[in-house]
C-alpha cells in the first residue's frame, strides 16, 4: 500500500515537473526543474528494477545535461524574446501529440504481460559470456556490435560539436567552488573505478563509470582546472579514440584467434578469455566515454582546423 502511494506520488511529481519545466517562462527555472525531473526519473528507473538505467539517468540526464544547459545559458547572454506562437499554430502539434499519445496508450494496453523469450535465453547463455551480470553480458558479448556502434555515435556527437564549438569564455571561478571540486575529484575517481569493476557482476559498467568520471571532470573544467583536457592535446585525442580502437583491435584479434576455422565469427570472444577481453574493452571505453562526455559539455574552440573560427579567420589552413 505504501509502495503504491510512493509510486503514485512519483508519477504525479514527474508529470508536474515535466509540465512546469516546459511551461516555465524563465530558462534558468526550466533547467533547474529539468534537473529535478532527471533525478526523479532515475528514482523511477530504480523502482522499475533497472538500476543500470537509474545510474545512467542520474549521471547523464540530471548531472551532465544540467551542466550543459547551464553552460549554454551562461554563454547565451541576453536572450532575445522568443516569438509569440499563435493558438492556431499550437493546435496542430497539440493535436498530433494527443492522437499519438492515445494511440500509444491503446497499443500499450495490448502488450502481453509475459516477457518474450530473450531474457530466459540470456540467463541460459550467461555462463559462457565471461561475466555474471546479464546487462553487461548483453552489452559486451551478445550484442557487442550495437555497443561498438554506440561508442561511435558518442564520438560522432563530439566531432559534430567541435565543428560548431564556441570561443572560450574568460571567467574566473570562485575559490570555494574550486577547492570543493578538487576535494571531490579523488572520490569520484575511486567511485568510478568501483562502478567499472562492479559491472561484471552487478549494476554498473563502462558507461556509468565514464559518466561519473566525466561529471567530476566537468566540475573541474568549469572551475578552470584541467587545462590539458582539450581536443588539441594528442593524448586526449588518443584516449578518446582508444575506446573504439581497442574494441576493434580486440575483435580483430579474437577473429584471427579463431584461426583458420572455415568461417570465423565476427566479435566472438573465446569463452576462457571473454572476461579479460571485456574488462580491457570496458576500461578503455570508460576513459573514452569520460573524455568524450567532458568535451561535449565544455567543448571549446580547438586549435585544429576542425572548427569554424579558424575557418572564418585563417581560411586556407587545411594543408
Amino acid at each position: 500500500m505504501s509502495l503504491l502511494l510512493f509510486d503514485t506520488l512519483l508519477c504525479g511529481l514527474l508529470l508536474a515537473l515535466a509540465l512546469a519545466s516546459v511551461l516555465s517562462r524563465q530558462l534558468s527555472h526550466a533547467v533547474i526543474l529539468y534537473i529535478a525531473f532527471g533525478l526523479l526519473m532515475a528514482m523511477a528507473w530504480a523502482r522499475l528494477a533497472a538500476p543500470d538505467l537509474a545510474l545512467a539517468e542520474a549521471a547523464i540526464g540530471a548531472g551532465l545535461t544540467g551542466a550543459l544547459c547551464f553552460t549554454a545559458l551562461a554563454r547565451q547572454g541576453q536572450l532575445a524574446l522568443s516569438p509569440v506562437v499563435s493558438w492556431q499554430q499550437r493546435c496542430w502539434p497539440a493535436l498530433f501529440v494527443l492522437v499519438t499519445l492515445s494511440g500509444l496508450l491503446l497499443a500499450l494496453l495490448q502488450i502481453p504481460a509475459s516477457p518474450g523469450p530473450l531474457p530466459a535465453l540470456v540467463l541460459q547463455e550467461l555462463a559462457g559470456s565471461g561475466v555474471s551480470h546479464p546487462v553487461t553480458a548483453v552489452l559486451l558479448n551478445f550484442r557487442s556490435w550495437d555497443t561498438l556502434l554506440e561508442l561511435l555515435v558518442l564520438l560522432l556527437a563530439l566531432l559534430g560539436t567541435l565543428q560548431v564549438a564556441p570561443a572560450p569564455v574568460r571567467q574566473n571561478s570562485w575559490a570555494l567552488s574550486r577547492s570543493w571540486s578538487q576535494l571531490l575529484a579523488p572520490l569520484i575517481i575511486l567511485l568510478a573505478g568501483y562502478v567499472l569493476w562492479a559491472g561484471a557482476s552487478q549494476p554498473g559498467g563502462a558507461f556509468q563509470a565514464g559518466a561519473l568520471l566525466a561529471a567530476g571532470a566537468v566540475v573541474l573544467k568549469l572551475n578552470k582546472q584541467l587545462n590539458w583536457l582539450a581536443w588539441r592535446n594528442i593524448w586526449v585525442r588518443f584516449f578518446a579514440v582508444a575506446g573504439l580502437g581497442v574494441f576493434v583491435i580486440a575483435a580483430l584479434a579474437a577473429w584471427l584467434l579463431q584461426g583458420l576455422a572455415a568461417e570465423p565469427v565476427w566479435l566472438r570472444w573465446p569463452p576462457q578469455l571473454a572476461k579479460y577481453i571485456i574488462l580491457l574493452i570496458e576500461t578503455f571505453a570508460t576513459l573514452a566515454i569520460a573524455i568524450t562526455l567532458t568535451l561535449l559539455v565544455v567543448a571549446e574552440q580547438p586549435d585544429t582546423p576542425l572548427s569554424l573560427e579558424t575557418q572564418d579567420s585563417a581560411g586556407g589552413s587545411d594543408d
Partner: protein, 472 residues
C-alpha cells in the same frame, strides 16, 4: 574478408582523427580498398547466393543478424564507389574550396554507417545505424561554416525526432513479441492494433528521415547549405538508408492486409512528391536548390514504386524501385559535383550564373546534362531502365492507365527543370566569365558518375535479374 568492409573505414577514421595530416590519403585508400572488397562480395553473393551471419556466434534471437543479399551488396558497392569518386573530387578541389579537415573522417564514417545499415537485419541495430547516419549527416552539413548552422540544427532536430519515432515503434514491437530480428518477427507477425501503431510510428520516423513528401521540407535547405562533395553524398546515399529500412518493414514484416491498406498512401505521397518537387525545382532561383528539389521529386519515384509494389506484389516493380535508387544516386552525385564546380568557378549561387556555361565550362555542363538525361529517363540510361521496369510491371498487371499517364507527366516535369538549366547554359550571347581558369580534373570527376549511370544500361539484364530474384 568481408569484415574488412567495416573495420577498414573505422580504423582509418580513427587514425585520421589522431593524425589529420594523413587524412585525405587514408580516406582515399580506405574507399578504394573497400570498393574492391565490395565488388568481390557482390560477385561472391551473386554466385553462391545470399549469406547470413549471426554476430558473436550466439543463437538466433540473442545475436544480431546480418544478411548479404544481392541488393545489400549492390548498395554497399554503390556507397563505396561513390565515396571514392566524391573523395577524389574533394581531394582535387580541397585547397580551392577550403574544405575543412573534418570532411575526411566524417565521410569515411558515413561509409561505415551505410555499410552497417545495408547489412543489418535487426530492428534495434538498424536504429543505431540510423542514429549514426543522422549524426554524420548533420556534422557534414555543418562543415560549411556559420551559414550552415541553422539548416544543420533543423536537420538535427528533425532527424532526432524521426529516430525517436522509429525507436518507439521498435519498443512496442519488442514489448509485443520479445524479438528484434526481422526474420524472427516476420514468422510471428500478427496484424493488430499494436503492430499497426508500431509500423505507423516507425514509418513516420523513416519517412521524415528519407524526406518523403510531405515530410521533405528540411531537405532542400540542408542539402543546399552543405559543401558540394557533401551534398553529393547526402543526396545520393544518406536519404536512401531510411528508405531501405522502410522497404524492409513493409515488404518483409507487414501482413498483406496492412500492406494493402498502406499502399495507396505511399503511391499518393510518391506522386505528390513528383509533382510538387518538380514544380519547386522549376521555380527556385538557386542552382543547388534546384538539384535538391529534384532529389525530393526523384525520391517520389521510389515511394511510388514502393506503393505499387505493395499493391501488386510484382517483382519487376521491386527491381524498378532499387534501379531508381541506384540510378538516382549516381546521377545526383554527378549533378551536385557539376553544379558545385560551376558555382565555384563562375562565382555565385544563382541559376543565372550558368548563362553560357556550355561555352565556358563545357565538360561540367556536359556532366550535368548527361546526369539530367538519366533523371528524365532518356534511353539508354539507368533512369530509363528503372522507368521501363516500372511501366513493364504495370503493363503486366493490365488495365492500368492512370499510373503510366502520371509517370509520363512526371517525366515531362523533370525534363522541364533539366532543360531549364541546359537552355540557360546554351545562351551564349553574353556568357558569365569564370573567376579563374576552369580546372579540368574536377570536371572529369563530376562526369564519371554521370557516365556510370549510362553504363548501367549495359548491365541491365544482370541487374534486373539479380534484383527481381531478391523480391521473391
Amino acid at each position: 574478408m568481408m569484415i574488412l568492409l567495416l573495420v577498414l573505414p573505422l580504423l582509418s577514421a580513427l587514425l585520421m582523427l589522431l593524425w589529420p595530416r594523413i587524412a585525405p590519403l587514408l580516406a582515399l585508400f580506405s574507399a578504394a580498398a573497400s570498393s574492391l572488397l565490395a565488388l568481390q562480395l557482390l560477385l561472391q553473393v551473386a554466385e553462391q547466393g545470399t549469406r547470413y551471419w549471426l554476430l558473436a556466434g550466439w543463437p538466433s534471437g540473442l545475436a544480431i543478424a546480418w544478411q548479404a543479399d544481392t541488393l545489400s551488396c549492390l548498395l554497399i558497392l554503390l556507397s563505396t564507389v561513390l565515396q571514392l569518386l566524391v573523395g577524389l573530387y574533394a581531394f582535387a578541389t580541397r585547397s580551392r574550396d577550403k574544405l575543412s579537415q573534418g570532411f575526411w573522417p566524417l565521410s569515411t564514417l558515413l561509409q561505415l554507417s551505410l555499410t552497417a545499415l545495408w547489412l543489418s537485419r535487426d530492428l534495434f541495430n538498424l536504429y543505431v545505424c540510423l542514429e549514426l547516419l543522422g549524426l554524420v549527416a548533420v556534422a557534414l552539413v555543418s562543415l560549411s561554416g556559420r551559414k550552415a548552422i541553422k539548416p544543420a540544427f533543423n536537420y538535427l532536430l528533425l532527424s532526432l525526432f524521426g529516430s525517436l519515432c522509429y525507436l518507439l515503434g521498435v519498443v512496442l514491437l519488442y514489448g509485443a513479441y520479445g524479438l528484434l530480428d526481422i526474420a524472427g518477427l516476420a514468422s510471428q507477425w500478427q496484424a493488430g492494433w499494436l503492430s499497426n501503431s508500431a509500423l505507423l510510428l516507425m514509418s513516420l520516423g523513416l519517412m521524415l528521415k528519407a524526406a518523403i513528401w510531405p515530410l521533405h521540407a528540411w531537405l532542400p535547405a540542408a542539402h543546399a547549405a552543405a559543401p558540394a562533395p557533401v551534398s553529393a553524398l547526402l543526396s545520393a546515399l544518406v536519404v536512401k538508408g531510411p528508405l531501405f529500412i522502410l522497404c524492409l518493414l513493409w515488404l518483409q514484416l507487414a501482413s498483406t492486409s496492412q500492406a494493402q491498406a498502406m499502399a495507396p498512401l505511399f503511391a499518393a505521397a510518391g506522386l505528390a512528391a513528383l509533382l510538387f518537387g518538380g514544380w519547386s525545382a522549376l521555380r527556385t532561383p538557386f542552382a543547388k536548390n534546384l538539384v535538391a528539389y529534384s532529389t525530393v521529386a526523384q525520391l517520389g519515384y521510389a515511394t511510388l514504386a514502393l506503393g505499387l509494389m505493395l499493391t501488386f506484389d510484382q517483382p519487376l516493380i521491386f527491381a524498378a524501385l532499387w534501379l531508381f535508387v541506384l540510378a538516382h544516386a549516381l546521377a545526383k552525385a554527378a549533378c551536385f559535383l557539376a553544379i558545385g564546380e560551376m558555382s565555384a568557378t563562375l562565382g555565385g549561387k544563382r541559376l543565372t550564373i550558368l548563362k553560357g556555361a556550355s561555352q565556358t565550362m563545357p565538360l561540367a555542363m556536359f556532366a550535368f546534362a548527361v546526369a539530367g538525361g538519366s533523371l528524365i529517363g532518356l534511353p539508354p540510361s539507368g533512369g530509363f531502365l528503372a522507368k521501363w521496369a516500372l511501366l513493364q510491371g504495370l503493363w503486366l498487371q493490365g488495365e492500368q492507365l492512370f499510373w503510366p499517364l502520371a509517370l509520363v507527366f512526371a517525366t515531362l516535369l523533370s525534363a522541364a527543370y533539366v532543360f531549364r538549366v541546359v537552355v540557360l547554359a546554351f545562351d551564349r550571347a553574353d556568357p558569365v566569365a569564370p573567376d579563374f581558369a576552369p580546372q579540368l580534373v574536377p570536371q572529369w570527376l563530376a562526369l564519371l558518375p554521370a557516365l556510370a549511370v549510362w553504363a548501367m544500361a549495359l548491365f541491365s539484364e544482370p541487374l534486373l535479374l539479380l534484383l527481381r530474384l531478391e523480391a521473391l
